[in-house]
Amino acid sequence: MNRQINDTAAVTAKELRQLLRDPLSLALTIMFPILLIQLFAVIVTAFSATSYNISVVVSDLDGSSVSKILVDKLTSSHVIHVIQFLQTEEQALHAVQSGAATGAVIIPKGFGDALLNSRSAFIVLQTDNSKITSSALVQSAVTSSVQALSAMTAHGSGMYSAQVEMVLRPISGRPPSGDTFLPGMLGMITILGAFDDIVNAITRERERGTFPRMVLTPASILSIYSGKISATVVLNAIRTTLMVAIFILTGLVIRGNILLVYLTTTLIAMFTMSLGLLLSTRIRSSSTLTVLEIAITFPLFQLSGAVQSPEMLAPGGRAIAWMLPWTYGNDALRRVIYLGVGIDAIAINIIVLLVSSLVLLPIATLLSKRTI
């Protein structure tokens, strides 16, 4: 047993020393989380901005005082920017079709008259739906302006409108900002980092011919693998620390025990490493394994709960998501970080990750023995 521990420690030290001697891999280990977070900051900033300048054209065919109020509300919107007033409906529609504007609002003749006489009125809104977010924002801004006008005309004519307001109370108390992605990002960085470690640890050694030499030493395969996993655990702790520091700098409050965050990322890394060890027994080229790593990145973003929780996925996707042990890791991270739950609340998640790793590791060891 002592021998096993000593061998594991020796392999761990060797792995870490090797990484320190490889500046490119070292830089990747450190820069990777920072760059990934920066790119997602761009996405989040774009989605959470309070004002936009989405181009919209308006054709006021009515020209009444009521339609002018609507135009005024549209021009003062923080979301849309009225770039042009056009004389005809065709011109307005053409502006959208040609890509000159994302939306066109057409106020037909008789609009004001209908409203003042308590009849229903309508406006036409044409949007370029190939720009999915922008068109949704235009629709929402125009709806708000129309609702404001409706309230004004109803009030002016002595009518009242019974309304039901909805008050949303998120239980974590966090502000509705972009930090919804951050725990998922931590999970993804843990997965990708651990996958990259396996490429460094096994396949490159195989390519250089140092792996068979290591196997020929008195250290057992299990010690070698345990040592490599331990090195990943150390690297993962560094990456997690870096990410937690970025979280805190961006204003995210970690409500749960920070040690649970480390425990969860460690288990995610161990599972990923075990799977990587298993794959490396079949895929012997480091570049093929890396490409496979990149190939599974996008599906994992979609299906492992990194961006959207499994509950929000379509039934097929939800079933796949709950079959992936990573989903349990990302779920645990979110609940520890946002809700501050304790170990009892994430016990199942921890067990799933642990059992999956414990199942994969012996299989990888067995297959590795056969292939050497």
Binding site: V124, N129, R169, P170, I171, T180, S287, R335
Partner: protein
């Protein structure tokens, strides 16, 4: 070209990853996440949501009926006390609590705004937005039936917004991203990775010593990769159309042509990177960041006009962003290619520029290798 196919045949793992794993994984994960094109799917339908009625009036009862019969809340659970239901949030047994406060009907009858309090487990990403949007839709049409004159007046004086524009399913929207991602991802690795590997193995130098010209080498590799991209486009579209019912708003020929155009653009960039002497490891790192970079700045998920400052400038300089506009314009709203002339010109000019630059650089390095 035949040399490239021979190499591919010898590496079965590469064939599986390039032609099957990448397109299948990407398309299936999209279908899994969003559901098929014809599916109307609301994420709040199946999850348990508690409904607590503290008002116990006719109006609150009608609200319950409106919510439960909307089709968006099929797992609405009654019978909890408010504090008990809220305590269950975060455990996975209840994901939200809709509470009708006391005085709900009274407020409506007096012409005041009545409130509905919704507690939500916001550790479930996206639930808050979905819940809010589903409930807003129900409340907009909610008729408490208080038999007052004013409510009837409100209905008759409404302003309708007639929405025009192509109706696009989330799946087909995602399909444009998947098609571009699969093409860019696989093509870049095949060209830049292949060239770098050949350089490291020494076979590239030997190839240059043969009577084959550099232009023929580049052309052969491009033709080979174009053929692979035809297969990949078939795989992605085949799964999208036959497994998930995706119906793009343009013909297959246009989609294939655009997919090949994006692959040519990526190939030319791949040649440029390999001409700069990047090794296999560097190519992989560049590829990873290229995909992430394009994801952020090329209109994959954020429309260009929503970006600000330097992010928007980067987006305008990236030729792939114009490729995405071409795909979106044709596949989503059915625009003909002739209507997207600016984007087409920019992509074609970028291809010519990248190929030209990489040819010059490879030629210079050839002279160094051969000398």
């Amino acid at each position: 070209m035949s040399n490239e196919f021979r190499l591919l045949r010898r590496n079965r793992t590469a064939i599986i990853i390039s032609l099957l794993i990448v397109p299948v994984f990407f398309t299936v994960s999209l279908g899994g996440a969003t559901g098929g094109a014809g599916e109307t799917f609301s994420p709040t339908t199946h999850i348990p949501i508690a409904f607590v009625d503290n008002d116990l009036t006719a109006a609150s009862s009608r609200l319950y009926n409106a919510i439960s019969s909307s089709g968006n809340f099929d797992n609405l659970v009654q019978g909890y006390r408010e504090d008990n239901a809220v305590a269950l949030l975060g455990t996975g047994r209840v994901f939200a609590v809709i509470t009708v406060p006391e005085g709900f009907e009274k407020n409506l009858a007096n012409g005041n705004a009545a409130s509905l309090v919704v507690y939500v487990d916001d550790s479930v990403n996206g639930l808050e937005e979905e819940l809010s949007s589903s409930l807003h839709r129900i409340l907009r049409n909610f008729e408490p039936d208080l038999a007052t004159e004013s409510v009837a007046s409100r209905v008759s004086s409404g302003i309708e917004i007639v929405r025009k524009g192509a109706t696009i399913s989330g799946f087909v929207f995602g399909l444009t991203i998947i098609l571009a991602l699969v093409t860019i991802f696989a093509t870049f690795y095949e060209i830049a990775g292949g060239m770098s590997r050949e350089s490291e193995d020494g076979t590239y130098a030997r190839l240059l010593l043969s009577p084959t010209s550099l232009a023929a080498v580049m052309m052969g590799k491009s033709m080979y990769d174009l053929l692979l991209n035809v297969i990949r486009t078939f795989v992605v579209l085949g799964i999208a159309v036959y497994a998930y019912g995706g119906r793009p708003n343009t013909d297959f020929g246009t989609i294939l042509a655009l997919s090949l155009l994006i692959s040519l653009l990526t190939m030319s960039f791949g040649f440029l990177i390999s001409a700069l002497g990047a090794g296999v490891r560097a190519v992989i790192i560049i590829e990873f960041f290229l995909v992430l970079f394009l994801f952020s700045f090329s209109g994959f998920i954020i429309d260009r006009e929503l970006l600000r400052g330097i992010s928007q400038t980067i987006s305008y300089a990236l030729p792939w962003a114009y490729g995405m506009e071409l795909l979106r314009g044709t596949m989503l709203v059915g625009q003909p290619l002739s209507a997207l002339g600016t984007q087409l010109t920019f992509v074609l000019a970028s291809i010519a520029l990248f190929y030209g630059l990489s040819y010059v650089l490879l030629r210079l390095s050839r002279e160094r290798l051969v000398m």
